[in-house]
């Protein structure tokens, strides 16, 4: 059986005081997919997510979410969606349990008490059940927020930068949980700034200025960018200037003792980069371009596009 996609939008737009925050985006997300949203601050990720869960009304285009029309059936969508806001938005002056209980009531969760107790246990919140939400640390707040938006067993999770300010261990656990949910058929749309998180997504979309610049799997995106990266071991800031002048180089990025030299013209780079490295007494090695290299290149190309 072929099921309809979880989310399809076409030409979806939203303007704030005349400026497009989201500009005619077409996108399809399938059931059970973990879909990553990347892009700089102000690129329209949050606006897009808010339109999906009925918090903002699109002013152009159309779309459906879990089989419901985005504009006309926002209420039905809200019942089936779990939305985790960018900023912690549960009630600071309620305890962990009270927060879950309140959210459970709002969604009309059946056997609420049991559901809350189970959730507290499975998210390791049982020990902190009676703590005020305000007193939790960032990682625990995030865990509570995730637990709260899963309490009503949503079919779609919308997560707006859920791991900002969370330590690596907690982030790793968080992503394990997302993958577990994904195998259960829950669709996840998650925005992030972290490249390692982007690589954990099934598919990705990169937004800039409200435009969808590129989308696909991580490999697809690296292919699309078509960049070549050379890694120069032992290069320091002193050597940067020399490589910046080298023909074919469009991007330089330092990683510890190594310098990543990226460009689109593979042939040109192969001719000039190793010889430049040798001239400086350094060693150059051809590497797999990373997702970040690809994004940085695509960002630059987007910024330099002719004005429309």
């Amino acid at each position: 059986m072929v099921t309809a996609p979880a989310i399809t939008v076409s030409g979806l737009s939203k303007h704030f005081s005349g400026k497009a925050a989201v500009n005619a985006i077409d996108l399809t997300i399938h059931h059970g997919e973990i879909y990553g949203f990347l892009g700089p601050n102000g690129s329209g990720k949050t606006t897009f997510i808010r339109m999906l869960c009925g918090l903002l009304t699109p002013d152009g285009g159309s779309g459906s979410c879990l089989g419901h029309d985005l504009v006309r059936e926002a209420r039905q969508i809200k019942r089936k969606v779990g939305y985790m806001t960018q900023r912690f938005s549960l009630w600071d002056d309620l305890t962990v349990r009270e927060n879950l209980d309140f959210v459970g009531r709002l969604y009309g969760v059946r056997q609420r008490r049991d559901a809350v107790t189970n959730t507290l246990r499975s998210y390791g919140l049982a020990d902190r059940a009676e703590h005020l939400a305000a007193t939790l640390s960032g990682g625990w707040k995030q865990r509570l927020a995730l637990a709260a938006c899963l309490l009503h067993r949503p079919q779609l999770l919308l997560l707006d930068e859920p791991t900002a300010g969370v330590d690596p261990t907690a982030r790793r656990e968080f992503w394990e949980e997302l993958h577990r949910l994904s195998t259960e058929g829950v669709t996840v749309l998650v925005s992030t700034h972290y490249m390692d998180e982007a690589e954990r997504c099934h598919r990705l979309a990169y937004l800039a200025d409200g435009h969808l610049i590129v989308h696909g799997s991580a490999d697809d995106i690296i292919q699309t960018a078509g960049v070549t990266t050379w890694v120069i071991q032992g290069a320091t800031a002193v050597h940067r200037a020399a490589f910046a002048q080298t023909p074919g180089v469009t991007e330089l990025a330092s990683f510890g003792n190594a310098l990543h030299v990226t460009g689109r013209d593979a042939g040109c780079l192969a001719t000039h980069v190793p010889s430049q490295a040798r001239a400086l007494g350094l060693d150059a090695r051809l590497a797999e371009p990373s997702l970040e290299d690809a994004f940085v290149y695509l960002m630059r190309r987007h910024a330099q596009r002719p004005p429309t």
Partner: protein
């Protein structure tokens, strides 16, 4: 200890910029003093004149007419017409008139015969301040020249004609201000706390970012509004009970009317004020604005409702503004029930305005409730 002029000017300038962008605060800064000047300067008149008065004319003779005319000329009594005794009592009960003047049968004849007939002047003394000066004026009336000229049987030596005026103060015979103030406080305290608490309730959500969470759930505006109103009804009832206990046992204010009716009216008033609070919080962007709007409403409520100053002492336009405020009607209702023992039929003219106010305010509230973050 160093003071940098640069920093100081920089900070002051920044404050000015912020103030200029905060239109509401700016409006309040200007409007509050203006409002106070106007209210104190024009509206509040602690010597109320033109108080509505009806006459029960048992003797339509020239002497009686001369007396009524003298009352009118004094400027304190606004003679609304002549009615019979029963209607006069009803008018006084409803608070439609402040005074009833009863001229006895055979007033003219007894006056001529030197039998010292007695005129009865009944006053609604619920608010002692309202009637005080009018009563003082009338006692000096007997020696006024117009009355002396028009009275038929001026004694040869020019002394006042021999008649008596008996003043009957109804509802608050001992002229105790607490009788007036304490029931009034009921309304003022409810207005303040109910409007403010609910006003803050919603804006707090918005300020803390929890509103976004609330909006993303299936909860409807009506659910959110009523859900936030109901707990405060309980708080309001507790406040009322405390004030009533204090009124009864600390100030010995009589509770003449039905407690059930009183609580019914109180519930209506609480609901009205809470609806206003919810609407304020839908309109205001943050807690500070909600507080400012509440005070903006509170000020005229106190000054123009008849709580601080006699309602009838205000010029007509101020009375018109006052009539739009729920507190004005609530004060009449509470005083009517507590001090006069008035029943629902008599009070209806002050009950429906509360319903009307609530309906309008709730409608605005539901219209302005933001269902989305647009």
């Amino acid at each position: 200890m160093s003071f940098s002029l640069h920093r100081f000017v920089g900070i002051a300038y920044k404050e000015l910029i912020q103030l200029q962008r905060d239109r509401l605060t700016l409006g309040m800064i200007i409007l509050i003093p203006l409002a106070e000047v106007f209210l104190f300067g024009y509206a509040i008149n602690s010597e109320p004149k033109h108080l509505p008065t009806v006459v029960v004319m048992s003797d339509p003779g020239p002497a009686a007419r001369a007396y009524v005319e003298a009352l009118r000329v004094s400027g304190y009594f606004d003679i609304k017409g002549t009615v019979d005794e029963r209607e006069a009592e009803a008018l006084l009960d409803r608070g439609d008139v402040q005074f009833v003047v009863t001229l006895p049968i055979n007033f003219h004849r007894d006056l001529v015969r030197g039998l010292r007939p007695t005129i009865i002047l009944e006053a609604d003394a619920t608010d002692p301040m309202t009637v005080g000066s009018a009563l003082a004026v009338q006692s000096g009336l007997r020696s006024s020249s117009s009355l002396l000229r028009d009275m038929p049987a001026s004694t040869p030596d020019g002394t006042p004609p021999p008649f008596d005026v008996r003043v009957l103060r109804h509802y608050n015979p001992e002229i105790i201000s607490a009788y007036n103030i304490v029931p009034g406080l009921l309304g003022v305290i409810l207005t303040m706390t109910m409007a403010l608490m609910t006003g803050l309730a919603m804006t707090r959500e918005r300020e803390r970012g929890t509103f976004e969470n609330l909006l993303s759930t299936p909860a409807t505006p009506f659910e959110v509004m009523t859900g936030k109103i109901v707990p405060y009804i309980g708080i309001g009832l507790v406040q009322v009970t405390l004030i009533l206990l204090a009124a009864r046992y600390a100030f010995e204010v009589p509770i003449v009317g039905s407690l059930l009716l009183l609580y019914g009216v109180v519930l209506l008033f609480i609901a009205t004020t809470l609806s206003l609070g919810m609407t304020i919080s839908s309109v205001a962007r943050n807690q500070l604005q909600a507080m400012q709007i509440t005070f903006f409403y509170f000020l005229p409520s106190i000054l123009l409702s008849g709580f601080v100053f006699p309602f009838r002492g205000m010029p007509e336009w101020a009375q018109d503004v006052g009539s739009l405020l729920p507190l004005t009607h609530f004060l009449v209702l509470v005083r009517g029930i507590l001090l006069k023992g008035a029943g629902p039929a008599l009070l209806w003219p002050h009950i429906w305005p509360l319903f009307a106010f609530m309906a309008v305010v709730l409608l605005i509230g539901l219209k302005t409730y933001r269902r989305t973050l647009d």
